[in-house]
């Protein structure tokens, strides 16, 4: 797993209090990992902090799964 993926996973595990092995490529934050809409806003903010990037609102809306997040951040950083 890439360095970015490791760091994203750590954030997801911490914020959503889920087991690490649940955080798979296609795991949806809301449907599979128990997040609500406010949790996802906070997750995106945490990604911005960790990677020193800005994720615009329209882009944030497309980040639905762990894989989406890693892909976006890989492209942005």
């Amino acid at each position: 797993m890439s360095d970015v993926a490791e760091r994203v996973k750590k954030i997801v595990v911490e914020h959503l209090s889920v087991e690490e092995d649940k955080v798979t490529e296609n795991a949806s934050f809301i449907d599979d990992l128990g997040a609500d809409s406010l949790d996802t806003v906070e997750l995106v903010m945490a990604f911005e902090e960790e990677f020193g990037i800005e994720i615009p609102d329209d882009a944030a809306e497309t980040i639905q799964t762990f894989g989406d997040a890693v892909k976006f951040i890989d492209g942005a950083s």
Binding site: L16, S17, L38, E42, M45
Partner: protein, 418 residues
């Protein structure tokens, strides 16, 4: 009018996490005063308070994770956490665990707070200034809003009845219980989870009350003796924190399910001073009228009241309240015991009235009036027994609990043995 009884109790106080834990220490005359450890208070005029004993959850200590899942803790200010914990205790104690939709819709929540999420607001203001609006948490607003204590409790238990909240400064807890009881009397609900929660032991809270010269400042060397209602050497109130919650229930509803009935809410009176932002009028007229209204509602005479849990904050206003109670009681004053439990736990602001109502109920249960500790030299002479330094075993059938708040808001509850 339908009758309302108390069927569940929950307390998180500076004396301990739990009803019996708090009560035992209260009756034995323990002070919860100590140096502030929640934050660095060295720059403030007041460096002590009555803090909740955080710990591993044993021996009456409070462990937040025992009450709210770790990941949810950062979504709420501490006053909400305290309210949730005390509400869990009260609901469990009542044995009311409905699953039918109709029962859930007839169960409501009314938990208030005087100040609410002030710490969250202060921290977020700094984030906003230092790091800009994009760093403001999506949980900021639902963490700080006062009615979110009621909201959180309703979500956790599925209670779909009236969801309401009270904000009347230091009268909040008493108003919440009185108003919730009325909702049941008027048939808006059969069961109400009611009370108050507060967490203002933080830099902005202490600084704010210091600025209005309300807090004790002279007892940094002996914080356990700082809260001393009616004593000559009192110099302001000592900040406390925590929550008190009761389960109120329509009498027949409680009987039908065989619930343990602790007491009946027989009287409730309210008034406004229309006088000053922070001080009561010298004649104590506002408090007097609230007490009078509560007695009238209860259909009792002043002489029927055995114990008064005073507002008694350890400020000059203690004397004014004592004067008003003396006037209310008339010749019956000689038989009355009145104490201020704020001498032990400090002033829990919006939670005070609810915590003190629970203490009143336990006073009736155990037939013992908790003491006013630290009352070494009364500032005034009175025929009323102020339970100085020691609890009083005595007959207690009817109690009155007074709560007065900034802005000149007054509430008095009368509770009766059932």
């Amino acid at each position: 009018m339908r009758r309302v009884v108390v069927t569940g109790l929950g307390l998180l106080t500076p004396l301990g996490c739990g009803v019996e834990e708090s009560w035992k220490k209260l009756v034995s005359g323990t002070s919860a005063g100590g140096a502030i450890t929640h934050f660095d208070a060295s720059a403030l005029a007041t460096t002590y308070a009555c803090q909740i004993p955080y710990g591993d959850g044993t021996n009456g200590t409070f462990r937040p994770e025992d009450w709210v899942e770790g990941k949810d803790l950062r979504k709420m200010d501490k006053f909400i956490l305290y309210g949730i914990a005390a509400a869990e205790m009260a609901v469990k104690d009542s044995g009311w665990a409905p699953t039918e939709e109709e029962d859930l819709q007839r169960t409501g929540v009314m938990i208030g707070s005087g100040i609410g999420g002030i710490e969250t607001i202060a921290e977020t203001a700094l984030t906003l200034r230092d790091r800009g609006p994009r760093r403001v948490s999506p949980f900021f607003i639902p963490s700080a809003l006062i009615n979110l204590a009621s909201g959180q409790v309703s979500i956790r238990h599925g209670f779909k009845g009236p969801n309401h909240s009270v904000v009347t400064a230091c009268a909040t807890g008493a108003h919440a219980i009185g108003d919730a009881a009325r909702l049941i009397m008027l048939d808006d609900a059969d069961v109400m989870i009611a009370g108050g929660a507060e967490s203002a032991i933080n830099e902005i809270g202490i600084a704010g009350f210091n600025a209005c010269k309300a807090l004790s400042t002279k007892y940094a060397d002996s914080p356990e003796s700082a809260s001393r209602p009616w004593d000559k050497d009192r110099d302001g109130f000592v900040m406390g924190e925590g929550a008190g919650i009761v389960v109120l229930e329509e009498l027949e509803h409680a009987k039908a399910r065989g619930a343990t009935i602790y007491a009946e809410v027989t009287g409730y009176g309210m008034s406004g001073d229309a006088y000053h932002l922070t001080a009561p009028s010298e004649d104590g007229d506002g408090g007097f009228r609230a007490m009078q209204a509560a007695l009238k509602r209860a259909g009792l005479n002043a002489g029927d009241i055995d114990y008064v849990n005073a507002h008694g904050t350890s400020t000059m206003a203690d004397t004014i309240e004592l004067g008003a109670v003396t006037r209310l009681m008339g010749p019956a004053a000689e038989k009355l015991t009145m104490s201020s439990t704020k001498s032990s736990i400090g002033h829990l602001l919006g939670a005070a009235g609810a915590v003190e109502a629970v203490f009143c109920i336990l006073a009736m249960r155990d037939q013992v009036a908790p003491p006013t500790i630290n009352l070494d030299n009364p500032a005034v002479e009175t025929v009323i027994d102020l339970a100085a330094k020691q609890a009083r075993e005595r007959k207690i059938d009817h109690v009155m609990s007074n709560s007065f708040g900034f802005g000149g808001t007054n509430a008095a509850l009368v509770l009766s043995r059932f």
